[in-house]
């Protein structure tokens, strides 16, 4: 306790009060990716601190809370209270990058919606495997739009609210056009000789949203 002289021999300064030491241990254990040993706590805290004592205080403070201070071998860590484990299911989601085919297909749908399968294939220049559209549908990033009023009445695809949410967009219209992509350095190429930059950008933007013109 602060009134007691610190037991350390060679400290030039008085050790921080035990309440402060407790805060320090709390912060270190919180931020650390692994359990931390008492010796390391002492090494990281200012001279004269007593991590073991601070740990004892801290453990009492977290008794009965949603997280607990637990000993792992020689080290200490915060862990979820065992009775609340059922809340943690969402933390174990395995995140994978979308395949190149899927991201390209998604980009085409976002920029050209509503768009048919045949149009996607034409733009990408390769045929679309079944799994790609299925995957995007399953992710609920795309959905079926109106059927196109052309022979065969093909279905079209459009992006969903979930898509906008995931990519932090307010509407698909807010996606930057080709010209803007180029300006921001995302599109490094020069246009092919003979094509106007404006034609390209406007062409793409024009097709993109039917209600825009």
């Amino acid at each position: 306790m602060p009134a007691d002289p610190p037991p350390q021999e060679d400290s030039l300064f008085e050790a921080p009060p035990i309440g402060e030491q407790e805060r320090m241990v709390e912060a270190i254990l919180f931020a650390s990716a692994e359990p931390v040993r008492v010796a390391e706590l002492n090494a990281r805290m200012p001279h004269g601190c007593d991590a073991a004592e601070a740990l004892a205080h801290l453990a009492r403070r977290y008794e009965g809370r949603g997280v607990r201070l637990v000993r792992v071998g020689e080290a200490w860590a915060f862990r979820t209270a065992p009775d609340l484990g059922f809340l943690m299911q969402k933390e174990t989601v395995e995140v994978r990058k979308l395949s190149r085919a899927a991201i390209e297909t998604l980009a085409i749908i976002a920029y050209h919606q509503p768009v048919t399968r045949a149009e996607i294939e034409e733009i990408r220049g390769v045929s679309l495997s079944r799994g790609t559209i299925d995957q995007l549908l399953e992710l609920e990033w795309i959905r079926f739009g109106r059927r196109r009023m052309t022979p065969g009445r093909p279905v079209t695809y459009v992006v969903t609210e979930g898509f906008l949410d995931h990519f932090g967009l307010e509407s698909a219209r807010d996606l930057p056009g080709l010209k803007e992509l180029r300006a921001s350095g995302l599109l490094d190429s020069r246009p092919m000789p003979g094509t106007e930059e404006d034609d390209l950008a406007e062409g793409a933007q024009g097709d993109m949203f039917e209600d825009e013109s």
Partner: protein
């Protein structure tokens, strides 16, 4: 740039003025554009930005541009555009207003420039205050040990907006660079050759020259002959692999013979 130098400019000390101008020239790369340079000049007046003498600042700027020209220093175009605009502003400020001429007065334009400078300075100050805040990963820290309690593994696919835009950019630029359209006229595919040879294999009981197998119309034109030969050779190898054909070549560059394999 030494701010004191500018105080002396204000005091019309010719030597210091020259030094100040030279210092500006030396440091021109250190400026983020003409507005930034004007802000430096304005600060040199050591008064509230709302009370600066725009005229004096314009004169300093124009003097600097003249100096730079005399020393044959290349200036970016926006510095010259600003110089032209300031020259225009100066004339508006100095000449009595022409009632026949409409458009904003010199005072209005000067006030707007002062506003721009004040706003730029305010944003500078704001960015400094922002960066001086406690920052994540430097001053405060996130939970280091995120917990995985259950073994339920759900796969979630992710992609960033940047991925999406780069993918789109990639597709759109690929068209720009499409090298040429392949002339399908003179292409004989291995699949076609394979199909054709499978149909004819029964007739090749004894060794026959592969070149004799080329289809009608593919033997004379060199481009078409090469394509058909390559396709049939590849198809032969495939059939050898499948165990339905034998293949031999007596010598380097000698004719290639094939025959149906007998079991």
């Amino acid at each position: 740039m030494d701010e004191d130098a500018f105080d002396e400019v204000a005091a019309h000390d010719p030597v210091s003025a020259r030094r100040a101008a030279e210092a500006l020239i030396v440091d021109v790369d250190g400026y983020e554009g003409p507005l930034d340079m004007l802000l430096t000049l304005a600060r040199g007046q050591k008064v509230d930005l709302r009370r600066i003498s725009v005229l004096q600042m314009a004169e300093q700027y124009l003097a600097f541009i003249e100096q730079a020209k005399a020393l044959r220093i290349e200036l970016a175009a926006d510095y010259l555009v600003m110089a032209a605009w300031l020259a225009f502003l100066k004339s508006r400020l100095l000449l009595p207003p022409d009632p026949a001429q409409d458009g904003p007065s010199g005072e209005e334009l000067a006030a707007h420039l002062a506003f721009q400078l004040e706003r730029l300075e305010a944003m500078r100050a704001a960015s400094a205050r922002l960066m001086a805040r406690d920052q994540r990963g430097r001053d405060f820290f996130v939970r280091g040990l995120t917990e995985d309690v259950t073994r339920i593994r759900k796969v979630s696919y992710t992609a960033t907006l940047l991925d999406l835009m780069q993918a789109y950019a990639r597709i759109r630029t690929r068209d720009d660079f499409r090298p040429y359209i392949m002339d399908r006229e003179s292409v004989y595919t291995m699949e076609d050759a394979l199909e054709r040879m499978r149909a004819m294999i029964g007739y090749a009981g004894d060794w026959v020259e592969l070149s004799g197998w080329l289809p009608e119309g593919w033997q004379l034109d060199p481009v078409r002959r090469r394509a058909a030969t390559a396709a049939h050779f590849a198809a032969s190898l495939e059939l050898v692999k499948q165990g339905v054909l034998d293949i031999r070549q007596g010598d380097m560059f000698a004719p290639i013979h094939i025959r149906k394999r007998t079991r």
